[in-house]
Symmetry: C2
Subunit: 274 residues, 2 copies
Protein backbone atom coordinates (compact mmCIF):
# COMPACT_ATOMS: atom_id res chain seq x y z
CA UNK A 1 0.00 0.00 0.00
CA UNK A 2 1.20 3.49 -0.87
CA UNK A 3 -0.14 6.09 1.53
CA UNK A 4 0.01 9.62 0.15
CA UNK A 5 -0.31 11.73 3.26
CA UNK A 6 -1.02 15.46 3.32
CA UNK A 7 0.91 17.26 6.06
CA UNK A 8 -1.15 20.45 6.02
CA UNK A 9 0.30 23.92 5.91
CA UNK A 10 1.94 24.77 9.20
CA UNK A 11 4.38 22.42 10.84
CA UNK A 12 4.70 18.83 12.03
CA UNK A 13 1.62 19.18 14.23
CA UNK A 14 -0.67 19.65 11.25
CA UNK A 15 -0.68 15.97 10.32
CA UNK A 16 -3.97 14.21 11.06
CA UNK A 17 -4.28 11.28 13.45
CA UNK A 18 -5.14 9.12 10.42
CA UNK A 19 -2.01 10.35 8.64
CA UNK A 20 0.17 9.71 11.69
CA UNK A 21 -1.17 6.14 11.95
CA UNK A 22 -0.29 5.51 8.31
CA UNK A 23 3.24 6.85 8.83
CA UNK A 24 3.74 4.79 11.93
CA UNK A 25 2.78 1.54 10.28
CA UNK A 26 4.82 2.19 7.13
CA UNK A 27 8.13 0.48 6.57
CA UNK A 28 9.56 3.44 4.66
CA UNK A 29 8.68 7.11 4.83
CA UNK A 30 9.49 9.66 2.12
CA UNK A 31 8.77 13.38 2.12
CA UNK A 32 8.51 15.41 -1.06
CA UNK A 33 10.81 18.41 -1.17
CA UNK A 34 9.25 20.36 -4.05
CA UNK A 35 8.12 23.14 -1.77
CA UNK A 36 9.52 24.83 1.31
CA UNK A 37 9.93 22.37 4.13
CA UNK A 38 11.55 24.81 6.54
CA UNK A 39 8.53 25.12 8.81
CA UNK A 40 8.42 21.32 9.08
CA UNK A 41 11.81 21.26 10.73
CA UNK A 42 13.45 19.98 7.57
CA UNK A 43 16.87 21.58 7.27
CA UNK A 44 20.21 20.71 5.80
CA UNK A 45 20.96 18.91 9.08
CA UNK A 46 18.16 16.47 8.45
CA UNK A 47 14.56 16.28 9.43
CA UNK A 48 14.81 15.77 13.12
CA UNK A 49 11.46 17.30 14.11
CA UNK A 50 9.43 14.96 11.94
CA UNK A 51 11.59 11.95 12.73
CA UNK A 52 11.24 12.58 16.44
CA UNK A 53 7.45 12.83 16.15
CA UNK A 54 7.14 9.74 13.96
CA UNK A 55 9.75 7.65 15.73
CA UNK A 56 11.31 6.62 12.42
CA UNK A 57 13.62 7.92 9.74
CA UNK A 58 12.32 9.99 6.85
CA UNK A 59 13.94 10.26 3.40
CA UNK A 60 13.71 13.62 1.65
CA UNK A 61 12.68 13.06 -1.97
CA UNK A 62 13.29 15.90 -4.39
CA UNK A 63 11.53 16.04 -7.75
CA UNK A 64 14.44 14.35 -9.46
CA UNK A 65 14.42 11.45 -7.05
CA UNK A 66 10.66 10.99 -7.33
CA UNK A 67 10.90 10.98 -11.10
CA UNK A 68 13.93 8.71 -11.27
CA UNK A 69 13.35 6.39 -8.35
CA UNK A 70 9.57 6.22 -8.23
CA UNK A 71 9.62 2.66 -9.54
CA UNK A 72 11.83 1.47 -6.68
CA UNK A 73 9.55 3.17 -4.15
CA UNK A 74 6.47 1.70 -5.81
CA UNK A 75 7.97 -1.80 -5.95
CA UNK A 76 8.54 -1.53 -2.23
CA UNK A 77 4.88 -0.50 -1.85
CA UNK A 78 3.77 -3.68 -3.65
CA UNK A 79 4.80 -5.77 -0.68
CA UNK A 80 4.80 -3.41 2.27
CA UNK A 81 3.37 -0.11 3.49
CA UNK A 82 5.13 3.00 2.23
CA UNK A 83 4.21 6.56 3.18
CA UNK A 84 4.86 9.48 0.84
CA UNK A 85 4.37 12.78 2.67
CA UNK A 86 3.46 16.00 0.91
CA UNK A 87 3.07 19.54 2.22
CA UNK A 88 -0.56 20.70 2.10
CA UNK A 89 -2.97 18.26 0.46
CA UNK A 90 -1.77 15.56 -1.96
CA UNK A 91 -3.92 17.09 -4.70
CA UNK A 92 -3.79 20.75 -3.75
CA UNK A 93 -1.64 23.34 -5.46
CA UNK A 94 1.16 20.88 -6.22
CA UNK A 95 -0.25 17.67 -7.58
CA UNK A 96 1.00 14.16 -7.43
CA UNK A 97 -1.15 12.75 -10.17
CA UNK A 98 1.78 11.21 -12.06
CA UNK A 99 2.82 9.20 -9.02
CA UNK A 100 -0.72 7.85 -8.59
CA UNK A 101 -0.96 6.94 -12.28
CA UNK A 102 2.33 5.03 -12.11
CA UNK A 103 1.26 3.29 -8.90
CA UNK A 104 -2.05 2.17 -10.38
CA UNK A 105 -0.27 0.93 -13.52
CA UNK A 106 1.99 -1.20 -11.31
CA UNK A 107 -1.01 -2.54 -9.41
CA UNK A 108 -0.06 -0.77 -6.18
CA UNK A 109 -2.97 0.19 -3.94
CA UNK A 110 -3.00 3.88 -3.15
CA UNK A 111 -4.66 5.53 -0.20
CA UNK A 112 -4.83 9.31 0.01
CA UNK A 113 -5.00 11.03 3.39
CA UNK A 114 -6.24 14.56 2.87
CA UNK A 115 -5.29 17.74 4.67
CA UNK A 116 -5.62 21.50 4.28
CA UNK A 117 -4.11 23.09 1.20
CA UNK A 118 -3.62 26.69 0.15
CA UNK A 119 -6.60 26.17 -2.18
CA UNK A 120 -9.03 25.98 0.74
CA UNK A 121 -7.15 27.65 3.61
CA UNK A 122 -7.28 31.05 1.84
CA UNK A 123 -10.96 31.01 2.89
CA UNK A 124 -9.75 32.33 6.26
CA UNK A 125 -9.59 35.91 4.91
CA UNK A 126 -13.35 35.93 4.44
CA UNK A 127 -13.57 35.91 0.64
CA UNK A 128 -15.96 33.03 -0.07
CA UNK A 129 -14.33 30.06 -1.77
CA UNK A 130 -17.28 29.46 -4.07
CA UNK A 131 -16.79 32.94 -5.56
CA UNK A 132 -13.33 32.23 -6.98
CA UNK A 133 -12.69 31.83 -10.69
CA UNK A 134 -9.82 29.98 -12.29
CA UNK A 135 -6.58 29.87 -10.26
CA UNK A 136 -3.48 31.34 -11.91
CA UNK A 137 0.27 30.90 -11.51
CA UNK A 138 2.72 33.78 -11.74
CA UNK A 139 6.19 32.71 -12.91
CA UNK A 140 9.42 34.58 -12.18
CA UNK A 141 10.11 36.93 -15.09
CA UNK A 142 13.60 36.83 -16.59
CA UNK A 143 15.32 39.28 -18.93
CA UNK A 144 13.98 37.43 -21.94
CA UNK A 145 10.97 35.46 -20.65
CA UNK A 146 8.02 37.47 -19.38
CA UNK A 147 4.96 35.31 -20.06
CA UNK A 148 1.65 36.98 -19.25
CA UNK A 149 -1.06 34.47 -20.15
CA UNK A 150 -2.39 34.84 -16.59
CA UNK A 151 -3.56 38.33 -17.54
CA UNK A 152 -6.62 37.20 -19.57
CA UNK A 153 -7.63 34.83 -16.79
CA UNK A 154 -7.55 37.56 -14.14
CA UNK A 155 -9.47 39.85 -16.46
CA UNK A 156 -12.09 37.19 -17.11
CA UNK A 157 -12.50 36.46 -13.39
CA UNK A 158 -12.74 40.16 -12.54
CA UNK A 159 -15.24 40.82 -15.35
CA UNK A 160 -17.42 38.12 -13.74
CA UNK A 161 -16.94 39.60 -10.26
CA UNK A 162 -14.91 36.55 -9.15
CA UNK A 163 -11.83 36.40 -6.94
CA UNK A 164 -8.51 35.07 -8.28
CA UNK A 165 -5.99 33.01 -6.34
CA UNK A 166 -2.46 33.67 -7.63
CA UNK A 167 0.04 30.92 -6.87
CA UNK A 168 3.54 32.38 -6.82
CA UNK A 169 6.55 30.74 -8.40
CA UNK A 170 8.82 28.43 -6.44
CA UNK A 171 12.21 27.35 -7.72
CA UNK A 172 13.67 24.50 -5.73
CA UNK A 173 16.70 22.53 -6.91
CA UNK A 174 16.81 24.06 -10.36
CA UNK A 175 20.09 23.30 -12.15
CA UNK A 176 21.89 26.56 -12.96
CA UNK A 177 22.18 27.45 -16.65
CA UNK A 178 25.94 27.55 -16.31
CA UNK A 179 26.07 24.07 -14.80
CA UNK A 180 23.85 22.67 -17.56
CA UNK A 181 26.21 24.10 -20.15
CA UNK A 182 29.13 22.42 -18.43
CA UNK A 183 27.31 19.14 -18.30
CA UNK A 184 27.22 18.68 -14.55
CA UNK A 185 24.41 19.63 -12.24
CA UNK A 186 24.97 22.44 -9.79
CA UNK A 187 21.81 23.78 -8.24
CA UNK A 188 20.67 27.37 -7.87
CA UNK A 189 19.73 28.37 -4.32
CA UNK A 190 15.96 27.98 -3.80
CA UNK A 191 13.80 31.01 -4.69
CA UNK A 192 10.27 31.77 -3.59
CA UNK A 193 8.36 34.63 -5.19
CA UNK A 194 7.29 37.33 -2.74
CA UNK A 195 3.97 39.17 -2.82
CA UNK A 196 5.81 42.39 -3.62
CA UNK A 197 7.54 40.76 -6.58
CA UNK A 198 4.23 39.34 -7.81
CA UNK A 199 2.46 42.71 -7.60
CA UNK A 200 5.32 44.44 -9.44
CA UNK A 201 5.05 41.90 -12.24
CA UNK A 202 1.25 42.20 -12.32
CA UNK A 203 1.43 45.99 -12.64
CA UNK A 204 4.07 45.72 -15.35
CA UNK A 205 1.78 43.44 -17.36
CA UNK A 206 -1.24 45.71 -16.85
CA UNK A 207 0.82 48.64 -18.12
CA UNK A 208 1.85 46.66 -21.19
CA UNK A 209 -1.59 45.19 -21.97
CA UNK A 210 -3.67 48.17 -20.92
CA UNK A 211 -7.03 46.37 -20.79
CA UNK A 212 -7.80 47.49 -17.22
CA UNK A 213 -8.00 44.02 -15.72
CA UNK A 214 -6.85 45.63 -12.45
CA UNK A 215 -4.77 48.55 -11.26
CA UNK A 216 -2.86 49.88 -8.26
CA UNK A 217 -6.13 50.49 -6.42
CA UNK A 218 -7.50 46.95 -6.85
CA UNK A 219 -8.19 45.21 -3.53
CA UNK A 220 -5.96 42.21 -2.88
CA UNK A 221 -5.13 39.94 0.04
CA UNK A 222 -1.59 38.80 0.67
CA UNK A 223 -0.90 35.62 2.66
CA UNK A 224 2.48 34.62 4.06
CA UNK A 225 3.10 31.27 5.78
CA UNK A 226 -0.62 30.52 5.70
CA UNK A 227 -1.64 28.08 8.43
CA UNK A 228 1.51 28.63 10.53
CA UNK A 229 1.57 30.24 13.94
CA UNK A 230 3.33 33.27 12.46
CA UNK A 231 1.13 33.65 9.38
CA UNK A 232 0.61 37.17 8.02
CA UNK A 233 -2.59 38.11 6.20
CA UNK A 234 -2.99 41.65 4.90
CA UNK A 235 -5.78 43.17 2.81
CA UNK A 236 -5.48 46.40 0.86
CA UNK A 237 -4.89 47.85 -2.56
CA UNK A 238 -1.95 46.58 -4.60
CA UNK A 239 -0.22 49.86 -3.82
CA UNK A 240 -0.75 49.36 -0.09
CA UNK A 241 0.43 45.75 -0.12
CA UNK A 242 3.68 46.84 -1.76
CA UNK A 243 4.55 48.51 1.58
CA UNK A 244 3.90 45.46 3.78
CA UNK A 245 6.76 43.36 5.15
CA UNK A 246 5.35 39.85 4.82
CA UNK A 247 8.54 38.12 5.98
CA UNK A 248 9.79 34.73 4.83
CA UNK A 249 8.04 32.43 2.26
CA UNK A 250 5.69 30.92 1.26
CA UNK A 251 3.58 33.75 -0.09
CA UNK A 252 0.41 33.78 -2.14
CA UNK A 253 -1.91 36.50 -3.34
CA UNK A 254 -5.63 36.86 -3.94
CA UNK A 255 -7.03 39.52 -6.26
CA UNK A 256 -10.56 40.31 -5.09
CA UNK A 257 -13.52 40.46 -7.44
CA UNK A 258 -16.80 42.00 -6.35
CA UNK A 259 -17.13 41.74 -2.58
CA UNK A 260 -20.27 41.26 -0.49
CA UNK A 261 -20.81 43.14 2.78
CA UNK A 262 -19.76 40.21 5.00
CA UNK A 263 -16.68 39.69 2.86
CA UNK A 264 -15.77 43.37 3.24
CA UNK A 265 -16.31 43.22 6.98
CA UNK A 266 -13.93 40.25 7.26
CA UNK A 267 -11.32 41.95 5.04
CA UNK A 268 -11.44 45.03 7.29
CA UNK A 269 -9.98 42.92 10.13
CA UNK A 270 -6.92 42.32 7.95
CA UNK A 271 -6.69 45.85 6.51
CA UNK A 272 -3.23 47.36 6.08
CA UNK A 273 -2.75 50.12 8.66
CA UNK A 274 -1.71 53.34 6.92
Amino acid sequence: MLYIVGLGLGDEKDITLRGLEAVQKSQSVYIEAYTSLLSFGVSSDGISTLEKLYGKSVTVADREMVEEKADAMLSEAQNSDVAFLVVGDPFGATTHTDLVVRAKQMGVDVKVIHNASVMNAIGVCGLQLYRYGETISIPFFTETWRPDSFYEKIKRNRDLGLHTLCLLDIKVKEPSLESLCRGKKIYEPPRFMSIVNAIEQLLEVEQKRGESAYDEETTCVGFARLGSDDQVIAAGSMRELLTVDFGPPLHCLVIAGETHPVEREMLSFFAVKQ
Copy 2:
Protein backbone atom coordinates in the same frame (compact mmCIF):
# COMPACT_ATOMS: atom_id res chain seq x y z
CA MET B 1 -9.46 32.30 22.78
CA LEU B 2 -11.94 30.78 20.33
CA TYR B 3 -10.41 27.90 18.40
CA ILE B 4 -12.30 27.09 15.22
CA VAL B 5 -11.08 23.61 14.42
CA GLY B 6 -11.61 21.80 11.12
CA LEU B 7 -12.31 18.09 11.61
CA GLY B 8 -11.64 17.07 8.02
CA LEU B 9 -13.91 14.86 5.97
CA GLY B 10 -13.81 11.31 7.24
CA ASP B 11 -14.22 10.52 10.92
CA GLU B 12 -12.79 11.38 14.32
CA LYS B 13 -9.29 10.39 13.18
CA ASP B 14 -9.11 13.20 10.65
CA ILE B 15 -8.47 15.88 13.25
CA THR B 16 -4.91 17.24 13.21
CA LEU B 17 -2.56 16.98 16.17
CA ARG B 18 -2.75 20.79 16.43
CA GLY B 19 -6.55 20.60 16.48
CA LEU B 20 -6.56 17.88 19.11
CA GLU B 21 -4.26 19.94 21.33
CA ALA B 22 -6.65 22.90 21.07
CA VAL B 23 -9.64 20.71 21.98
CA GLN B 24 -7.84 19.20 24.93
CA LYS B 25 -6.90 22.53 26.42
CA SER B 26 -10.36 24.05 25.90
CA GLN B 27 -12.79 24.42 28.76
CA SER B 28 -15.82 23.92 26.50
CA VAL B 29 -16.14 22.09 23.20
CA TYR B 30 -18.95 22.65 20.69
CA ILE B 31 -19.49 20.89 17.37
CA GLU B 32 -21.52 22.40 14.55
CA ALA B 33 -24.31 20.21 13.30
CA TYR B 34 -25.13 21.91 10.01
CA THR B 35 -23.89 18.97 7.98
CA SER B 36 -23.94 15.21 8.44
CA LEU B 37 -22.09 14.18 11.55
CA LEU B 38 -22.88 10.49 11.25
CA SER B 39 -19.39 9.45 10.21
CA PHE B 40 -18.02 11.29 13.24
CA GLY B 41 -19.87 8.98 15.61
CA VAL B 42 -22.44 11.67 16.36
CA SER B 43 -25.83 10.03 16.70
CA SER B 44 -29.01 10.61 18.58
CA ASP B 45 -27.38 8.72 21.48
CA GLY B 46 -24.74 11.41 21.78
CA ILE B 47 -21.29 11.81 20.46
CA SER B 48 -19.44 9.09 22.25
CA THR B 49 -16.71 8.49 19.66
CA LEU B 50 -15.46 12.07 19.76
CA GLU B 51 -15.90 12.40 23.51
CA LYS B 52 -13.90 9.23 24.06
CA LEU B 53 -11.09 10.48 21.84
CA TYR B 54 -11.02 13.95 23.39
CA GLY B 55 -11.56 12.86 26.97
CA LYS B 56 -14.21 15.55 27.48
CA SER B 57 -17.83 16.28 26.73
CA VAL B 58 -18.90 17.86 23.46
CA THR B 59 -22.04 19.97 22.91
CA VAL B 60 -23.77 19.63 19.56
CA ALA B 61 -24.61 23.10 18.25
CA ASP B 62 -27.18 23.33 15.50
CA ARG B 63 -27.51 26.44 13.35
CA GLU B 64 -30.22 27.82 15.60
CA MET B 65 -28.10 27.46 18.70
CA VAL B 66 -25.08 29.05 17.04
CA GLU B 67 -27.22 31.96 15.90
CA GLU B 68 -29.05 32.40 19.19
CA LYS B 69 -26.40 31.50 21.71
CA ALA B 70 -23.24 32.64 19.97
CA ASP B 71 -22.87 35.55 22.38
CA ALA B 72 -22.83 33.23 25.41
CA MET B 73 -20.22 31.03 23.74
CA LEU B 74 -18.14 34.07 22.78
CA SER B 75 -18.36 35.58 26.28
CA GLU B 76 -17.00 32.32 27.60
CA ALA B 77 -14.17 32.57 25.05
CA GLN B 78 -13.23 36.01 26.38
CA ASN B 79 -11.91 34.45 29.57
CA SER B 80 -11.12 30.87 28.68
CA ASP B 81 -10.35 28.60 25.76
CA VAL B 82 -13.34 27.41 23.77
CA ALA B 83 -13.20 25.04 20.81
CA PHE B 84 -15.81 25.15 18.04
CA LEU B 85 -15.48 22.10 15.79
CA VAL B 86 -16.61 22.06 12.19
CA VAL B 87 -16.70 19.27 9.63
CA GLY B 88 -14.20 19.84 6.82
CA ASP B 89 -12.36 23.17 6.96
CA PRO B 90 -13.74 26.15 8.90
CA PHE B 91 -13.87 28.16 5.66
CA GLY B 92 -14.61 25.42 3.16
CA ALA B 93 -18.00 24.76 1.63
CA THR B 94 -19.88 25.83 4.74
CA THR B 95 -18.47 29.03 6.09
CA HIS B 96 -18.34 30.40 9.56
CA THR B 97 -17.57 33.96 8.67
CA ASP B 98 -20.43 35.39 10.76
CA LEU B 99 -19.10 33.74 13.90
CA VAL B 100 -15.63 35.17 13.31
CA VAL B 101 -17.04 38.65 12.68
CA ARG B 102 -19.01 38.53 15.94
CA ALA B 103 -15.99 37.23 17.83
CA LYS B 104 -13.75 40.01 16.54
CA GLN B 105 -16.38 42.61 17.37
CA MET B 106 -16.44 41.30 20.95
CA GLY B 107 -12.65 41.41 21.13
CA VAL B 108 -12.30 37.62 21.28
CA ASP B 109 -9.11 36.22 19.79
CA VAL B 110 -9.81 33.66 17.11
CA LYS B 111 -7.47 30.95 15.95
CA VAL B 112 -8.38 28.84 12.93
CA ILE B 113 -7.04 25.31 12.62
CA HIS B 114 -7.37 24.21 9.03
CA ASN B 115 -8.17 20.82 7.60
CA ALA B 116 -9.25 19.24 4.33
CA SER B 117 -12.52 20.36 2.80
CA VAL B 118 -14.53 19.14 -0.14
CA MET B 119 -13.18 22.17 -2.03
CA ASN B 120 -9.68 20.69 -2.15
CA ALA B 121 -10.23 16.97 -1.56
CA ILE B 122 -12.05 16.62 -4.90
CA GLY B 123 -8.55 16.93 -6.39
CA VAL B 124 -8.18 13.19 -5.70
CA CYS B 125 -10.11 12.31 -8.90
CA GLY B 126 -7.32 13.80 -11.01
CA LEU B 127 -9.08 16.88 -12.36
CA GLN B 128 -6.66 19.69 -11.54
CA LEU B 129 -7.93 22.14 -8.92
CA TYR B 130 -6.55 25.17 -10.73
CA ARG B 131 -8.77 24.34 -13.72
CA TYR B 132 -12.05 24.82 -11.87
CA GLY B 133 -14.33 27.77 -12.47
CA GLU B 134 -16.92 29.15 -10.07
CA THR B 135 -18.45 26.62 -7.66
CA ILE B 136 -22.23 26.21 -7.79
CA SER B 137 -24.90 24.98 -5.39
CA ILE B 138 -27.86 22.89 -6.50
CA PRO B 139 -30.92 23.34 -4.26
CA PHE B 140 -33.72 20.78 -3.83
CA PHE B 141 -36.48 21.63 -6.32
CA THR B 142 -40.02 21.80 -4.97
CA GLU B 143 -43.33 21.83 -6.82
CA THR B 144 -43.23 25.60 -7.03
CA TRP B 145 -39.58 26.54 -6.55
CA ARG B 146 -37.17 25.39 -9.23
CA PRO B 147 -34.38 27.99 -9.34
CA ASP B 148 -31.79 27.46 -12.07
CA SER B 149 -29.34 30.33 -11.79
CA PHE B 150 -26.56 27.73 -11.56
CA TYR B 151 -27.15 27.00 -15.25
CA GLU B 152 -25.40 30.11 -16.60
CA LYS B 153 -22.44 29.49 -14.30
CA ILE B 154 -21.98 25.93 -15.53
CA LYS B 155 -22.30 27.11 -19.12
CA ARG B 156 -19.71 29.82 -18.57
CA ASN B 157 -17.26 27.40 -16.96
CA ARG B 158 -17.78 24.82 -19.72
CA ASP B 159 -17.37 27.45 -22.45
CA LEU B 160 -14.00 28.28 -20.89
CA GLY B 161 -13.05 24.60 -20.64
CA LEU B 162 -13.19 24.72 -16.83
CA HIS B 163 -14.50 22.11 -14.39
CA THR B 164 -17.46 22.88 -12.10
CA LEU B 165 -17.87 21.68 -8.51
CA CYS B 166 -21.57 21.27 -7.67
CA LEU B 167 -22.36 21.38 -3.96
CA LEU B 168 -25.58 19.48 -3.32
CA ASP B 169 -28.31 20.69 -1.01
CA ILE B 170 -28.43 19.69 2.65
CA LYS B 171 -31.49 20.23 4.81
CA VAL B 172 -30.76 19.71 8.48
CA LYS B 173 -33.19 20.76 11.19
CA GLU B 174 -35.51 22.66 8.88
CA PRO B 175 -38.82 23.47 10.55
CA SER B 176 -41.68 21.81 8.66
CA LEU B 177 -44.07 24.13 6.85
CA GLU B 178 -46.95 22.66 8.82
CA SER B 179 -45.23 23.26 12.15
CA LEU B 180 -44.43 26.88 11.20
CA CYS B 181 -48.13 27.43 10.42
CA ARG B 182 -49.07 26.03 13.82
CA GLY B 183 -46.52 28.25 15.52
CA LYS B 184 -44.39 25.55 17.09
CA LYS B 185 -41.22 24.13 15.67
CA ILE B 186 -41.25 20.52 14.54
CA TYR B 187 -38.33 19.60 12.35
CA GLU B 188 -38.35 17.76 9.05
CA PRO B 189 -36.07 14.72 8.96
CA PRO B 190 -32.66 15.65 7.51
CA ARG B 191 -32.32 15.40 3.72
CA PHE B 192 -29.16 15.20 1.67
CA MET B 193 -29.31 15.54 -2.09
CA SER B 194 -28.01 12.50 -3.97
CA ILE B 195 -25.94 12.59 -7.14
CA VAL B 196 -28.82 10.95 -9.02
CA ASN B 197 -31.23 13.65 -7.82
CA ALA B 198 -28.76 16.37 -8.82
CA ILE B 199 -28.25 14.96 -12.33
CA GLU B 200 -32.01 14.64 -12.84
CA GLN B 201 -32.45 18.29 -11.89
CA LEU B 202 -29.53 19.34 -14.10
CA LEU B 203 -30.99 17.53 -17.12
CA GLU B 204 -34.42 19.02 -16.47
CA VAL B 205 -32.90 22.51 -16.50
CA GLU B 206 -30.90 21.81 -19.66
CA GLN B 207 -34.08 20.64 -21.37
CA LYS B 208 -35.89 23.81 -20.30
CA ARG B 209 -33.08 26.25 -21.14
CA GLY B 210 -31.75 24.46 -24.20
CA GLU B 211 -28.45 26.34 -24.47
CA SER B 212 -26.34 23.16 -24.56
CA ALA B 213 -24.36 23.87 -21.41
CA TYR B 214 -24.10 20.07 -20.99
CA ASP B 215 -26.06 16.96 -21.87
CA GLU B 216 -26.47 13.30 -20.93
CA GLU B 217 -23.09 12.50 -22.47
CA THR B 218 -21.13 15.14 -20.51
CA THR B 219 -18.36 13.65 -18.38
CA CYS B 220 -18.91 14.04 -14.65
CA VAL B 221 -17.40 12.68 -11.46
CA GLY B 222 -19.57 11.70 -8.52
CA PHE B 223 -18.16 11.62 -4.98
CA ALA B 224 -19.85 10.01 -2.00
CA ARG B 225 -18.47 10.23 1.54
CA LEU B 226 -15.27 11.84 0.21
CA GLY B 227 -12.33 11.27 2.53
CA SER B 228 -13.96 8.37 4.40
CA ASP B 229 -12.75 4.79 4.30
CA ASP B 230 -15.84 3.81 2.31
CA GLN B 231 -15.76 6.71 -0.16
CA VAL B 232 -17.09 6.08 -3.66
CA ILE B 233 -15.73 8.01 -6.65
CA ALA B 234 -17.16 7.27 -10.09
CA ALA B 235 -16.46 8.98 -13.42
CA GLY B 236 -18.65 8.70 -16.47
CA SER B 237 -21.33 10.47 -18.47
CA MET B 238 -24.33 11.89 -16.64
CA ARG B 239 -26.33 9.00 -18.10
CA GLU B 240 -23.85 6.45 -16.72
CA LEU B 241 -23.71 8.05 -13.27
CA LEU B 242 -27.50 7.78 -13.01
CA THR B 243 -27.00 3.98 -12.78
CA VAL B 244 -24.42 4.06 -9.95
CA ASP B 245 -25.37 3.20 -6.37
CA PHE B 246 -23.35 5.76 -4.44
CA GLY B 247 -24.78 4.79 -1.04
CA PRO B 248 -25.36 7.12 1.91
CA PRO B 249 -24.58 10.89 1.98
CA LEU B 250 -22.74 13.21 1.64
CA HIS B 251 -22.59 13.40 -2.14
CA CYS B 252 -21.09 15.99 -4.46
CA LEU B 253 -20.67 16.19 -8.21
CA VAL B 254 -18.10 17.62 -10.60
CA ILE B 255 -18.96 18.47 -14.20
CA ALA B 256 -15.76 18.20 -16.21
CA GLY B 257 -14.64 20.87 -18.64
CA GLU B 258 -11.88 20.18 -21.16
CA THR B 259 -9.63 17.43 -19.87
CA HIS B 260 -5.90 17.00 -20.39
CA PRO B 261 -4.36 13.57 -21.08
CA VAL B 262 -3.18 13.03 -17.47
CA GLU B 263 -6.59 14.06 -16.20
CA ARG B 264 -8.24 11.55 -18.52
CA GLU B 265 -5.85 8.83 -17.42
CA MET B 266 -6.73 9.46 -13.76
CA LEU B 267 -10.47 9.53 -14.53
CA SER B 268 -10.16 6.16 -16.27
CA PHE B 269 -9.25 4.59 -12.92
CA PHE B 270 -12.65 5.70 -11.61
CA ALA B 271 -14.63 4.91 -14.76
CA VAL B 272 -18.09 3.39 -14.34
CA LYS B 273 -17.99 -0.25 -15.41
CA GLN B 274 -20.70 -0.91 -17.99
